[in-house]
């Protein structure tokens, strides 16, 4: 048993840190740290910096413009990026569509699409969920009917994250209604400026706009935009779900958040003593810290399994389950620590009107926003179902 990283891995970590220190724009890091939404330009700016360095498409093989990293290197990069408050790159083009095309796409699709993901020409978003279907992909209703060399698409997608910045969407659509419900699904790429495609914002609980609905009304999509074979969409969707996902436990984010908590707890006072010395907070912070320390080891264990080719879907479910719980606990602790000062909506106040550190002023909206962690991307109930299925098999 050996917890340590190899010399090469440690050198890599140093390199990543240096890179982040020298290249991550300070204003961007400050916004990320305070839980504010980034502008599209800011995200693209960071994307460009990463792409120039060759560190953007972390999961792609070198031949397609990825850095050719090992799972451990990806982990180190994700951890350091989170700790430095670098923007989390939207995964839709880089970590979802990219790997799908690399595995299932035609040569033409790869040549045409992958470079545009890297250079920011295309911003992809995801059309999986539908109203009333949630995590139940088999029941999806958006239809794509073949008409000559086009599909005619009708239906509605929802929870489309950052769709407002996108010009393209990849969708799961129903191309057959016979047989098992899973068997009639296809994976289709759609230009958002196709006539009949309309995007509407969904405002989330914290007031922010990060997800959208997309409506399809007789939208005509060329058949060459089909990825893989017709009715192969379920296989592709499963590949994406069980595909090793870096940083699913969000340990780096939790570590950063807990560090911020400790700093805040020193600065804030409650009834005349620092929150850090308040026994209730101190105890809870200590226990969460133990949980997070364990999680970071659990994460490495699963990472080592992935490195050794032994990880399956159950591992990523366990990571997501506990990882999101810990992250949400930290954000609850952070919000709680502010006491009455968590109440005012920071949007209404200028910096010099705040009585708490700027970083902390959005603690409550950030807490509410992050209730999504246990819902989106396969709710924690779905994750429990997945693990239970494996556990009670046979």
């Amino acid at each position: 048993m050996d917890l340590s990283f190899t010399k090469e891995e440690q050198a890599f970590r140093d390199e990543v840190r240096r890179f982040l220190r020298d290249n991550l724009p300070r204003e961007i890091a400050a916004k990320v740290s305070a839980g504010k939404e980034l502008e599209k330009d800011e995200i693209l700016h960071w994307q460009e910096i990463l792409n120039r360095k060759g560190w953007l498409a972390t999961t792609w093989p070198a031949e397609h413009g990825g850095p050719g990293w090992t799972a451990v290197e990806r982990h180190i990069f994700a951890e350091e990026s989170a700790r430095a408050s670098a923007p989390r790159m939207p995964p839709f083009g880089l970590n979802m569509l990219g790997p799908v095309l690399i595995k299932f796409g035609s040569d033409d699709q790869k040549a045409r699409i992958l470079p545009r993901i890297l250079d920011g020409s295309d911003w992809w978003c995801q059309g999986y969920s539908e109203p009333g279907a949630g995590s139940d992909l088999a029941s999806l209703k958006t239809r794509a009917v073949r008409d000559g060399d086009h599909y005619v698409v009708n239906g509605q997608k929802t929870w489309t994250t950052l769709g407002q910045h996108a010009n393209k969407i990849f969708c799961l659509v129903r191309t057959a209604t016979e047989g098992k419900p899973q068997e009639g699904i296809s994976f289709l790429l759609v230009d958002l400026d196709t006539p009949g495609v309309e995007m509407r914002p969904i405002r989330l609980i914290d007031g922010g706009h990060e997800v959208n609905e997309v409506f399809f009304t007789d939208a005509r999509v060329p058949v060459e935009n089909l990825v893989g074979k017709e009715n192969q969409g379920w296989t592709i969707a499963k590949y994406l779900l069980t595909h090793e996902r870096t940083n699913i436990a969000g340990v780096g984010f939790s570590a950063r958040d807990l560090e911020r908590y400790h700093q805040l707890a020193q600065e804030l006072s409650r009834d005349g003593q620092p929150v850090a010395d308040h026994p209730v907070y101190a105890l809870r912070a200590a226990e969460i810290e133990a949980d997070l320390e364990a999680m970071s080891i659990t994460n490495l264990r699963m990472l080592a399994q992935a490195r050794d080719g032994a990880a399956g879907g159950v591992e990523s479910s366990l990571l997501k389950l506990k990882g999101t719980q810990i992250r949400q606990e930290i954000q609850d602790l952070y919000r709680s620590a502010l006491g009455a000062q968590a109440a005012p909506d920071a949007e209404d106040l200028s910096e010099n009107e705040l009585t708490v550190p700027v970083d902390a002023a959005r603690a409550a909206p950030v807490y509410f926003n992050n209730r999504k962690l246990s819902i989106f991307g396969g709710s924690n109930e779905i994750q429990r179902n997945i693990v239970a299925k494996e556990l009670f098999r046979g």
Binding site: Y281, G339, P344, D345, F368, R371, I375, E381
Partner: protein, 370 residues
């Protein structure tokens, strides 16, 4: 032993519920709650006309109620309708105004002609008033106040401000403080207004040589009393909001299908809703205890128990409700998300569950009540 509402209280509850159902849907609420002045003058007049404000004072102070039960009956309905009007600030302010014998101004507040709010908290105060550090000093016939006040509920747009400041203190937050807590009245000075995250108005106040009139030079006990009544109000409000949110959750699970069957048929979800219901019953019970013990020797203990238990229960119910709703529970458009926000944020008002746990620990255990 009687847990049903009296006929009068039932009528009060019914008329308030009807008024809010007819005049205060979630769109009306959200339109008012998040834009300055963070409340609706129309709704406010409506509530005053219904007698909601007057019910906070006893008859000998010009009201028509004044018991903790009056307060809890009203706030449970306000919670059920997720009312974001500045009723809490009015309740606390009005009680102190009346205690100070300001009958005329109190009458104006009752009738909705004036609004009053209380500036007591300061950054870093939970529910212990000892570390309050704003100061008051005599200046000729009047007084001058200095210091920072925060968490002035209903402050935006209030006509009058009651301000708590320390008289005869060395000053400086942190240690035990000398002097007494004085209660002062001022036309509302320039405030730092904001919406609360969960809607409704809140304000801060930076005082420098602020001129004010002194209502009482030693109001500590009256303030604690008014705050405890405010805590009871928050508990009752939480009970109303929890009950409504659980109803919404049950309805949603019944009507929504996944994997070809209603969500309500999934046992894991059923059991979680049952646990929410258990917490609601507990929250209702401890609020009853606090209402019953208001004004007794056991007041502080019962109120802190209630605030602590409800802080825990409200967070649990809010988080579970969002989770059980899935994506829809995360949206601004769905009313349930605003209920959940209110339930979480209610613990940030007038001392949270941890503050009240510590207050409980400091209090003597209760003498055998039976």
């Amino acid at each position: 032993m009687e847990f049903n509402l009296s006929e009068d209280h039932q009528m009060l509850a019914d008329s308030l519920r009807r008024y809010l159902a007819d005049n205060y849907d979630i769109e009306t609420r959200n339109a008012a709650a998040f834009e300055a002045p963070y409340h609706s003058a129309e709704t406010w007049s409506g509530l005053a006309e219904l007698g909601v404000i007057g019910a906070f004072l006893p008859e000998d102070q010009g009201g028509f109620g004044g018991t903790a039960e009056d307060v809890s009956v009203i706030f449970e309905e306000l919670g059920r309708a997720l009312c974001a009007e500045p009723v809490l600030g009015a309740l606390i302010g009005l009680r102190l105004l009346a205690d100070a014998g300001r009958d005329e101004l109190a009458a104006a507040v009752i009738e909705g002609r004036a609004r009053v709010a209380l500036a007591i908290q300061e950054p870093g105060i939970g529910c212990d008033l000892d570390p309050l550090s704003a100061t008051a000093r005599k200046d000729g016939d009047g007084w001058r106040l200095d210091g920072r006040k925060s968490a002035i509920y209903g402050g935006p747009g209030a006509d009058h401000l009651l301000i708590v400041a320390r008289i005869g203190a060395g000053g400086g937050q942190g240690g035990s403080q000398d002097g007494t807590l004085g209660l002062f009245l001022a036309e509302t000075p320039a405030l730092i207004d904001a919406a609360m995250v969960d809607g409704g108005g809140i304000a801060d106040l930076a005082m420098e040589d602020l001129a004010a009139e002194c209502l009482s030079e030693d109001a500590g006990a009256a303030i604690e009393d008014a705050l405890d009544l405010g805590r009871i109000a928050l508990c009752a409000e939480a009970v109303g909001a929890m009950a409504r949110l659980i109803d919404m959750t049950v309805d949603y699970l019944k009507q929504r299908n996944q994997f070809g069957r209603p969500l309500a048929s999934f046992q894991a979800l059923q059991h979680r809703v049952v646990d929410m219901l258990v917490e609601l019953e507990q929250a209702r019970s401890i609020t009853i205890r606090a209402v019953a013990d208001y004004g007794s020797d056991n007041q502080a203990r019962a109120v802190s128990m209630a605030k602590n238990l409800i802080g825990r229960a409200a967070r649990h119910i809010a988080e579970e409700a969002i989770q059980l709703h899935g994506g829809i529970g995360m949206t601004w458009e769905y009313p349930g998300s605003h209920y959940a926000k209110r339930l979480v944020m209610i613990d940030h008002q007038l001392g949270d569950k941890n503050d009240h746990a510590l207050r409980l620990i400091k209090l003597q255990p209760r003498k055998d009540a039976a």
